[in-house]
Symmetry: C2
Subunit: 319 residues, 2 copies
């Protein structure tokens, strides 16, 4: 569809011409989605506008840092619909999917953004939506209160892995400097956001570590996740996110292998390497991927698969 591309200043001026604003974001909202939504709502309220941020599903406990004390206005039938951190209307949760073709403005940072709103403020070089929201709030002439700074910080910290990921920019640090000076309790926030693990995650890690195997003088480390382990621990997909990084993150490990049992009885293999070409190794097993992170799917017993993988890796390690 046709959409008009707008600047933060245009977005600010347009938003100030509206009232009774419904703010949408994607399903399974993260810190950037909720932080962006509440930040812009708090700013618009300073200018007397009524806002409702719609989200669905249970939020991780750390969200209470920004949702506690926040209450939506009663806006009745929305006069204006704003979507934040939403790259595609198909990502709306069921509860707000009815608004998919009625969105007036979208503010987003995803390079994969598709046009679906009348007006689009897209900055795909931004690490998080919250940093674009900050510009809009600034352009609206609103005061950046501690509550707003908290929301922006949560978005920024979530999407940059607390300034650890490669998407972290100089601008992110300059924004963080401003937010810190506005009194964000960063130690508390980061402890809540990054320091906590779900019970299911801990249970699956406990089982994965119990079965962890080392070979080749500690240069290869293997963990195995069976369907039975996932059922026992009631893990959902988000609980096992990043689990394949565990073996490689051990000092001295050149190749970290994760075997995960599939519904069809096959095993999905994730390979992470320090110096070896992971894609080339996995290609020999019908898979592929990147230089240091690749995968393949194998049939057979876990033991047979491990023996074959270790042999292939040992050859490349010269062992």
């Amino acid at each position: 569809m046709e959409t008009r591309k707008i600047s933060p200043e245009e977005a600010a001026s347009r938003l100030l011409k509206t009232d009774n604003i419904l703010i949408l974001t994607h399903k399974n909202p993260d810190g950037d989605a909720i932080g962006s939504g509440i930040a812009i709502a708090l700013a618009l309220r300073q200018r007397g506008r009524k806002c409702r941020v719609a989200w669905s599903g249970e939020l991780a406990s750390y969200f209470s840092l920004i949702t506690e004390g926040y209450e939506n206005d009663d806006i009745g039938e929305p006069e204006f619909i704003l979507a934040v951190d939403l790259a595609n209307p198909r990502l709306l949760p069921d509860e707000t999917a009815c608004y998919a073709d009625k969105v007036d403005m979208v503010i987003d940072h995803h390079a994969t953004s598709v046009p679906f709103a009348a007006e689009t403020l897209l900055e795909s070089a931004a690490s998080c939506c919250a940093e674009i929201i900050y510009k809009v709030i600034f352009a609206m002439g609103c005061e950046v209160t501690t509550e707003i700074a908290n929301c922006i910080y949560v978005g920024l910290a979530t999407d940059t892995g607390c300034f650890r990921y490669s998407n972290t920019t100089s601008d992110n640090h300059i924004l963080a400097a401003r937010l810190v000076s506005m009194g964000v309790d960063i130690a508390k926030f980061n402890e809540e956001i990054f320091g906590q693990k779900s019970r299911a995650r801990v249970e699956i890690e406990r089982r994965a570590l119990a079965g962890m195997e080392f070979t080749s003088g500690g240069k290869i480390c293997i963990i195995t996740i069976t369907r039975n382990m996932l059922e026992e621990t009631r893990c959902v997909e988000s609980d096992i996110e990043g689990i394949a990084t565990i073996p490689k993150a051990i000092e001295g490990v050149e190749a970290g292998i994760t075997l995960r049992e599939q519904e069809n009885g096959n095993w999905k293999i994730s390979l992470r390497t320090a110096t070896l070409d992971a894609a080339e190794i996995c290609a020999a097993f019908g898979g592929g991927g990147h230089l240091r992170a690749a995968g393949c799917e194998c049939s057979g017993t876990p033991f047979e698969i491990k023996v074959a993988l270790v042999a292939a890796i040992n050859k490349r390690l010269g062992i």
Copy 2:
């Protein structure tokens, strides 16, 4: 002893009047110690000065990010001795302890710093020594090369927990913004610094998690570290740093308890709480501490100790 307090500008001008500079730091050096030392050495070399950074012991693998490609000059008998990130000459490693009373200048950020050098540049509000070193390098009019920026970043990231700890300041983020723009590969650095665990650490975690116990509807989580486990895994003190934070970091846990067997057969208890007064609970067992982190030492079997602690905590949880 008498020491003259100096500014970064005075330090810069003094350093430029010297040559054949020996740079010392504390034993078991961390990223801030090594990063500060190599950064100032690289800067002084730009001005034609010869420098040697002295450190001892095996460095964690991530240090190769800043030590690789760095080579000390042959300075012969040092003409000037600079100590960085060193609060007390007693913290010098054995190899350089002979210089303890010969230090000409110290640059440090520890509030616990004692005067031991002729001149002292102390900024106890700084989160890391590297940020003071940056000021000195700037005052010397040196170019901040990518190599120097890398060293400063490692110091900054190490001492602020990658901008997560409460000591992180606005100034830290502004400095980080500059370093990022100078081309520091922050994703690689942070992966190496924060993403890696020693083999011994993983082995002790594997055993601790295997024996992890939950009670009181998941509100209390207990791990137990026996002397046998420490011997089996050949853990040194740094390998078990922060292990007491594991139980509390699980979602839903109100009280995380770590039992650690002592040489005398007693058990050292660490208690971390979400909302309860940890110091008050531990006081009832002859210990004490802070509101959310406290400890005590108990005799008896682990089971007896756990029963007593759980009963005390349940009472306060109203269970």
